[in-house]
Every structure is written in structure tokens, then in C-alpha cells.
Assembly symmetry: D3
Homo-oligomer: 244 residues x 6
């Protein structure tokens, strides 16, 4: 089984770190294929950058269509997830989506902790229709940059955020954002509830979907498009819009 | 990996059929352990029977606590799912819950088709907070008994239900109820959208959760109970309430 | 008129206290019949115990079917309420449900105060579809045991919780849990909004329903079941599943 | 106990019919006091008339403040209910509100049937936060006038509406509007689920609230106003705004 | 273009101040016509007064029907807005509604700040179906009276409220209530997000609707009523109920 | 005042038609500036194309930043609206958003009619938090191409859709999609409720926002980004990510 770990940021270092995490989480025999978009924001940190990045990640996916068994979007805002599902002939999973759905199988309500603002995550969870399952979001006042310099301080700060969410009714915690990806082991001791890591959840959910072999939609909003013209897109992307 | 396929009906024939389906869906090397409650309704077909059956299925699970790696509830109403999660030291997955969550990773809105009334499913999906993701439910006018005698008629009737749901905006279909479990292959041709089988989804989701090794809640509503007295329960169940 | 005050805990002392409260609240001429389940948790304090207790309380009710005019569930989580309604030939009311609905007739939004965790109450209110009418829940850090030893401290702690709820927009307060049942008079002075006691509301709502003489559902999800087999249930409960 | 049956229409014949129904539904010893506003629409049949009528019914209630033990609003849109609750020193119940809340104690979802348009009822149920408990509304194509001439045709038409609601998942039916008030006995035979009559529910709920003796709010949005000036209102109404 | 600025309070000084604000906000060539009800509460400060005031403001509007091109309700609770729309042959806009809708075009979630209680605003926003767009409401502990004496203190207090709302996720702020109307310039410096003034938004939205020349509803809940009798209403209001 | 009418399709003929409509709807003295993206789908007809088009329309807007007073997105799915608002120093309005908000000022519930599938519109309205204000959506079985050949047939088909929506409770109708833009006059006669044209509403709402001169957010999710790197974007777009 080949799983494309598709970054939506154009920073290849992030891609490699995510691919590494994916390899650590995958079943034996799964090949992880890292992918970085050719153009777009270096690091998505706002709704604006996320909207721009959709084109880049779809362009990246188009180049792999038919050559991988599944895709995991290695970007915490699950950039262009719905569109990617419509376009690709294989399952596509978002890392935050996967963590939220896994959390739903552990208890009634999850919290989400991340670095910085929470508005984009709030909108994402609402978009997934999971608002009632989310007890709250906490944005820790820390940056990914500072976390690289002061990893222990970062863990302490996140652990405080986790404690606040648990006090507010969360029975599991989604770790939001690539910067928190590696932290699960360090936090595990301190956290009184299970923690969900997006890359690990994404890879295992992708494997599960591949095993279920769902048919591709032939009609409705998820059916592949056909016969659509475009201007200035890559051959691969334009080809998928034109279809067969 | 050992997965308990726990029926909440006391009809062992159903347990065996579900275990068979689970074996067909599981990864290589997974051992499926079938389980049937010692007491309770023969076949759950109402909210009343479902409420009574909760005790029986928890009694069954208690007897396997610590001896399996995961549980799949092999009953379409996911009987006592939240309570089972609080009680068991391993992941517990409901077959309808698993199918609904898998459907969420295929497109914006799923439909559900079943034999008979849909009210219990409507309440279940609402309880899961997935009401916004469900485009509709169709109860086909057919009984499990009649389906055994006229399997082709059953497939035709379900296919009609599927078509109605797709026309109403569903981009995937959850097959609700044990009686529809084996039908996926026969329906696949006719259905313009992917179909989700509860046992297959349940087993694969259980495998994914086992792989993620989530910590057990130490506090909050999902933490194990401790020091609780009871009257007239089995030793295993009473023991789990007493804890320690 | 005979009203069964049905405990779902197996602790008879609780039953007797609730029956006493019911007698104090009932109209002249109403006979209160106390009932305690034969098996189940001693005191329900978690979702797990509540799920187990459903069987016991339905077993208890089955023994009184046809011999009482109404049932009030004397348990703060309204254990097995929907199932009891489907099973019994008479009105069945939950004490917390009754308090919430009475509160709805006093103003736009009620709060709920209880001892300990609030998650089960949050889920119950959401299950009743009353989430928009509830301004908040407060779990006072006190135990029923401690309240017996320090009743004045308990009243002070609950009064603080009430004040917090009123500041948050509640215009009435539901007292959640048997442990708060007797406290209404002591709190009344201090509370700037009306307080709703579950047993009093339950008994008066049951009387109102009996007076309205609602027909029993002949179809749909609330119709009595018929011809259903079971294993290992009491004669009375098995008989109601078999019907006729 | 004295209960004011307060019409919000200025047609006294409607008041008398409602008072008659209230007497038939009340407990022994309850005195029913009919009241008709001094000004306002003859028969409320639109949101516009309902908004105008609020003043008239509050003017009527003000004249009875302190002289009755409870009020039942005898108008199907529960005109000015929230304001009446804030103003009056006794419980105030709306007839449609009371029927909806009683229905909530009979099963998961009620339907509502009425003559003519359903939009005002939809908004009312949504205002009560009961949208999730309502399975649907049916507006029968019949007028109150025609029902007087052809009562059997009216019953047939309403029975059809009831059947449609039951097919759509209702397990009880609220009869909306004064014109359907007397119909419950004639419909009872044909309906497979219980029917709720607004006046009967309103009177019994009012009795229950009186028995519970809820304290009056001293603060928050339901507290009585004090020291408010006004222009051109009746002495009684202006007096209640001034307070003290 | 003539726009009626219709107060629902009977205090003419408020009307004149609102009309002044409206003139400052209107396009060149727009004539602002101030209007004060003949009867009703002096200053609406509760749900009760708001319900009474509906009649007065509709009475006022009826006297201007056909003689103005649009109406802006110059009252922060948008008194009788839906009814006014059904009654008038021209567009009617509420000042708080207009501010909320304008806020929706600036970002995902607005907050609302006002003097005193927030419950009426919460209900209003919920009535508009905009609950998901509102991040929170803050009631500043200040009175309109005190604001006249200590305008700088009022600005400081409101600015604190604004800061709290922004911290809670608001990306724009609706200034609720006539008392905050003139404050926008003084607050603008300090506020990190845009502020919406009800009168300015109301006037500009009214101009936009007039320009769009929407047809009047001929059927459904917004169609004008016809042939309706009434008692004791003004000739103008009674005439609009009777229709053509 | 200069308003950019920004198409998100790369078909210039659509841009010109929209600009024409905008000129017809604008106030005297408003200059309409048409804009077409340099790359992207020719005509957006699916969620996939819409996601790709976001980049192109943001690229187009970036080239006009600081040189126009407002933007109207001339594309029925309001492509990249939130991101455009964050990026641009002036108000940005979506044509469907503007029509929905204008409809909210005409009555309680609007319907939406369009050619083809409705799922994208359903999601858009839900994204705007206006689900409760929308009574339904109808997708007429017609194509823009066929409408060019058979305009009278198109009007008849849309009129049928309008009638269905009105029967279902709509009191105004949003015309969704560029293909319905010119149809309002032809439909007006037949429609019993007001019709909202997206371009007209968009232009007038943009004018209103410009007049209100809202401050730009300095913090929170709508604040402009600053210091962000990117790869392969146009100078204008990259410049706005880098900021001042």
C-alpha cells in the first residue's frame, strides 16, 4: 500500500518531518510517499494562506492520481480536503479530521489544543458538523519557532492547555497543528485523558478506508468532473478536470 | 490482536453470522472472538428491547475485560456503547457508529437505509452529534425474515431506498442493521455512491484504534468507576464496578 | 390515583426518602407506591451504572404494569425513561425531565445545579432537545455523604452555585439529584429566582398527565411491542415483550 | 384556585367557548374566570395581528393581577406569553406551549396540525427551543368557518393531517388553534397516537405550577419592572410598569 | 427618498437624537422623517415594555404607510419588526438587525456590547437565526443616564467590553442600544476591530433595499392581511387590517 | 466610488455580462471595474473547481488592492470570500451572500433556486450560519447553455421552482447563479414573493459598506497577514502576504 503524505505548505522540511511521523505510525508494509506543492505559502498560518494553498495541494495530488492507494493531507487545516476527495480516485484523509473522528470513538466530547489562534480550527470542526462533540479549543501562547528552542516549555504550556480543556469537560484531546505532532509521548504522562495525534490518526484511518475499498461516487456532488475547461493549470490538474 | 464481536441480542445464530463477517473484513492475524449475552431480548427491534439489552451486553463484555484488545458491538443500535467504553480497558466500537464515521471521510453527507422503522437510527445519529452529516434515512418495507426467503426482492427494495437517498443528496450510504450486512456486494453494482457495511467498518476502525494505543481516561466522565456497590450482578460486572 | 415512585438505585433508603418527598408534593387522595429494583447498582453515579440500571428499573416497572395510574422515576438521570414509556400502559415521568419542563414555563432559560460532575446532566438535557433553554450547569464540589454531615455547608455551596448560574443568565434553577431534593426550602430565601425540585415537579406532572388521559400509541416508535422473545428475564418483563 | 382564561382576540364568543373547555378540563374546585381584551384584532390570523394583540392581552391581564392564581392564554399563538410572565405575580401558561410540553412527556417527537398556514406555529415552536422535538407541522386546507358548517368534513381533513404526521415520525399530535379544540374526542378513535388539546393541557399545567408555588424572580430578565414611565396606557398596566 | 425613523419609545428626545444620527449617516438627498408613538413605554428596558410597545410603533407606522419609501426602527430591540414588514408597503429595517447583517459582511463572528442586561439581545440574535455568527455579548455595568454625566467613563467601560469580546473571538462589534449610538468615533481609535452603529447601518441598509425595489409578497406569511376586523384601534391601523 | 466586479471563472464573457448587470444596479457615479482571473477553471461547476479557483480570484484581487473602494465577487459560490476579506483593504461582498442577507430583511425565510445541483449552495448557506433562515433549495433541471437557446423555457422552469419553494414556506427567493441573473424582470410577474438578484444585491451592499467606512481589523482572524513567505505566487499576491 502506498500512501501519499501531501503537505499543503511549500516548506519541504515540514513534509519530511510529517512523512517521518507517518512512517512511525503506519502498518508494516505501507510505503509513505512525501509530497510538497510546487507553489503557495511557505507555512499556512491564516485563512488567507489556506485558501491560496488549495490550488497548490490539488496540483500536487493531481500529479499522483492513480499512483497511490490513499492520501493523507499533512497540514493541520486539512486544506482542500473536500475537493481532493472529489478529484482523486483513492481515499483522502485530513490529519485533523482523522484525529477528531478517532476522538469521537473514545468518548462524548473532545477538546483541541494548538499554538496560536483557534478560529480556523473552530470553523473546521463546525464544517465537519462536529460542533456538538467538541467541548472547547485552547490556543496556547507559544510559537512553533519558540517550541524548537524551548521544547520543555512548550510541553508545559500545552499540558496546561490540556488541563484546562479536561476541566471544561473534554474526555480526549486532539493535538492540532504540525508543531504539536511529536509531543504526544512527552504529554502522555501528564494528561488524564487520551491524546490524538493527527498524523498517526490520518495514516491509520487511511489504511482502514483502503481496506474497506469504497466504490467511487458516480453521481452527486462527489462524482468526478468531466469535460471541464481551464486556463493556466498544470497538465495533470487540467487533465483531471477534462476527465477520461 | 483479539477482537470481541459482541452481540447484544441473545440469538447465537446472529452472533455467528456477524463473527463470520468480521473475519472476512479483518486484517490477517486478527482473531475474532464471538460473544452472546446470557440474558436479554432475542432480537432487538425497539427502543425498549435496546434498553433492556444494555445490561446483558455489559455483562458479556465484563467477562472478557482484559482478555481482548478491542470490542466491536455487533448490533445495529450500538447498544450501551458509551457505558462499554467507560467500563472496558480497551477500545470499543459500534458497528453503526463506525459506518457513519467512515462515511464522513468519503463526502459531506451520508444516508442510511434499513429494514423497518428509522426512528431509533435517527436518534442514534443525533446522539452521535452527526445530524448535520446525515441527509436522510429510509426504512425499507421488508423484514429480515422475508429477506431470507426472497433475497433478490430484498436487494431490489434496498436498491430503491438507496436511489431515493442519493436523489436526496446522500453521497454515501450506511447499511443499517444486521439483515443488510451481507448485501453490499449485491448492491454495489446498482449504487451510484459508496456503501458502508457496519461490521466491516467496525472491525477496521477497531484495528485502527488499537494501533493508536490511546491512553485510558484517568478522570472525567470516561474514567473507570471505583468502589461502587451493587446487588444481583454477575461477579465480573460487580467486580468492574468495585474496581481495584 | 396510585403513583409508583420507582427508584433505579437498589438502595431502599433512597426510595423511602423519595416516596416521602412525593407524598409531601402530591394532591390530596393520591397514593404513593414506593418501588426499588431487585438488582443493579446501589447508587447510580456514572453513565456506566445508569446503563446497567435500566434493566433493573424496567423489571421493577413491569411488576407494576396495570396496577398503577402513573410512574415517577425517582432517579436524577431519569433512567430508561423512553423505554419505560413504550412499555407501560400509563404515563411515566422523569424527575429531572419534569423539573426542566416546569422551568420552561417560568422563563426563557434555566440553569441546573448538582453535586459532582455535570456531564450526564448535559447529555440528558441535550437528549430532551432542551439545550437552547439551558443557560448552564454547575457541579458543586460536595458529596451527598458530606451533605448529611454538614447540611449548612451544603446549602451554602449550592447557593453559590445558584448565584453563579443566575449571573450567567438563568431565570430559574433545576435542583439536580436526590441529594438536593430536600434543600429547596433552605435555598429559597437566598435564591433570586425560582428553584425546581425534581420529585415535586415529577409528581405534579404525572398527575396532570393522568388527568389528560392520553391515548396509548398504537403505531410508531412508542407503540407497545408484541411477540418478542427473550432469555433470562423476569416473567413480568418477558410477558410485556411477548404482549397480548 | 382561580384561573384566568385570557383570550387575546377581542371576540367574546371565542372567550366563552375556551372558558367552557377550561371548565371541562379543570380539577374540581377550580374557578375559571373568562377575560376578553378591550381592544385589538377580532380574530388573530397573522403575525401582524398577533403583534398588535400583545398590548390588549397584557392590558387585560394587568386588570386581574393579584386577583387570580394563574393565567392560561386562550389563544393558539400564546400571545405575549414571555411578557405576561414577567408582569404577573402568578404563573402564566400558553395553551400551545402547554400542549407541546405535555407531548414531550409522551414520546420523542410530536407533530402539530392546524387549519391554514403553519409558519406562525413553526416560529413559536422554534422560539420555545423545541424544534428538535417537533417532527413536522401540517396545515389542513380548511377554515374555522367551514368547520362550523361541515364538522364531519373537518374531522376527516384533520384526521388525514394526523395520519400524514404519524407517517412522518410523530408519536403524538398537538392540535393547534381554537378551531380544533373540541375535536379531540371525534379524532381519538382514528388517531394511532395520543392527541393534545391546548386548553386541557394549559389548565392542567397551570394547576401543577400553582401547586409547586415557584418563587417570583427578584433579578434577571424575568424580574418585575419598577419605576418605568409610560404614556397613554391603562391605569392598571401603567401601574405595573411603575411598580411599588 | 423619504425614510421614516420610527422610535418605539414614547420619549421624543430619543427620536430627535436618532433622526439626527440618521441624517448624518444618510446619502445626499435622503429626507429623514422622525416619528414617535402616541402611547406606550417612555423607554423600553425590558421584554415586557417591548411587547407593549409593539402596538404603539405599528400604530405610528400605519399613519405613514404609503407616504415614506422605507422605515428604520430606531429602537435597539427592533420592536415589532416582522409585523411591520408584513404591514407596510415599503421596506422596514431594524437598527440592530442591520448592524448584525452588516457585521456578517466583515468577518465570521461579531460580538455585541450594550449597557445593562444582554438577554433581550441574545434572544433577538437567536430570533434572526444568527446565533452561530455571534461570538458573545457583553453587558457593560453602566446606565444611559450615567453615560450622559460621565461620557469618558462610559467610553472606557465600553472599550473594556469591546476588548473582552475581541479576546473571545469577535472580529467586529455591534454597538447595541441607542445610548451607544454616538460613541463609535470615540471608540474607533481603541478598538482593534470594526464597530457597527445601528442607526448608520439601518439607514444605509434601508437605502439599499429601496434601490433593489423588491416586490411585495402576494401570498404566504408576509402577504398583507385583508378583511380583518378589530376593536378600538386607530383608523389607520384598523384600515390596514381591513385592507383595500 | 470604484467597485471591482471580480469573476472567479476565467471566461471573460461572463465577467462582461456581470459588469453590465452591476452597472445597471449601481448608484449614479459608481464606476464598475471588471476583472477576470489569469488562470483557473473556465466555468466553476463543482466544489473541486471552486477550490482551485480561489487562488486565481485572490491573485486577481491582489492586483487591484488599494485601487478600488470595494469588491463584488461575481461568482455564485462567492469563491474565496473570507480570504478576500482578510486580504483586501476595502469591503468585499459575495453576490450570493448579499442576496441571502437582503432576503433576511424581507421576511423570515428565503428559498434559493438555481440550475443543476444544490449541494454547493446548501453548504454555502450553512457556512454563512443562515441555515435556519433558508426554507429550501431547488435545482431546476436546466443548463445555462440550454437557457441561451430556450430563454422562455428557462423562465417557465425557474418559475415552477419558485412556486415549489413558496409552497414550502419561502417568503422571498434568492436567484442563485450567473445564469439566472438577467431573469428577475421576466419572473417578477409570476412570482408571489420578492426575488433577489445576486449582482444587484452585491453592488448595493458594497455601496452601503463603503458608506459605513468600517475600520480594518488590527487583530484576530481578519487582521492582515504580515511577514509571510511564499513560493511561485504573483508579485502582487506575494507582496500582500509579506505585508508592509
Amino acid at each position: 500500500m502506498r500512501i501519499l503524505v501531501a503537505n499543503a505548505n511549500t516548506t519541504e522540511a515540514i513534509t519530511l518531518r510529517c512523512a517521518e511521523a507517518a512512517r512511525g505510525a503506519a502498518s508494516a508494509g505501507v510505503e509513505i510517499v512525501p509530497g510538497t506543492p510546487r507553489f503557495g505559502p511557505a507555512v499556512i498560518s491564516s485563512g488567507l494562506e489556506n485558501a491560496i494553498a488549495a490550488h497548490g495541494v490539488l496540483d500536487l495530488l493531481a500529479a499522483h492520481a492513480g499512483r497511490v492507494d490513499a492520501v493523507v493531507l499533512a497540514v493541520s487545516l486539512d486544506t482542500a480536503l473536500d475537493a481532493a476527495r472529489q478529484m482523486m480516485p483513492c481515499p483522502v484523509v485530513g490529519m485533523t479530521e482523522a484525529a477528531c473522528l478517532a476522538a469521537c470513538m473514545l468518548g462524548p466530547r473532545f477538546g483541541l489544543v494548538t499554538f496560536g489562534g483557534t478560529e480556523s480550527y473552530r470553523q473546521l470542526i463546525r464544517h465537519y458538523g462536529l460542533g456538538e462533540r467538541c467541548s472547547g479549543l485552547v490556543g496556547v501562547d507559544f510559537t512553533p519557532q519558540r517550541a524548537l528552542v524551548d521544547p520543555e516549555g512548550a510541553v508545559r504550556a500545552v499540558a496546561e492547555g490540556v488541563a484546562g480543556l479536561v476541566a471544561g469537560g473534554a474526555d480526549s484531546i486532539v493535538l492540532g497543528g504540525a508543531a504539536l505532532a511529536g509531543m504526544e509521548p512527552a504529554l502522555r504522562e501528564a494528561a488524564p485523558v487520551p491524546l490524538l495525534d493527527g498524523m498517526a490518526c490520518g495514516v491509520r484511518m487511511a489504511e482502514a478506508l483502503v481496506a474497506l475499498r469504497p466504490a467511487r461516487a458516480q453521481g452527486g456532488p462527489m462524482a468526478p468532473v468531466r469535460g471541464r475547461d481551464s486556463v493556466g493549470l498544470s497538465d495533470a490538474l487540467a487533465g483531471l478536470l477534462r476527465g477520461g
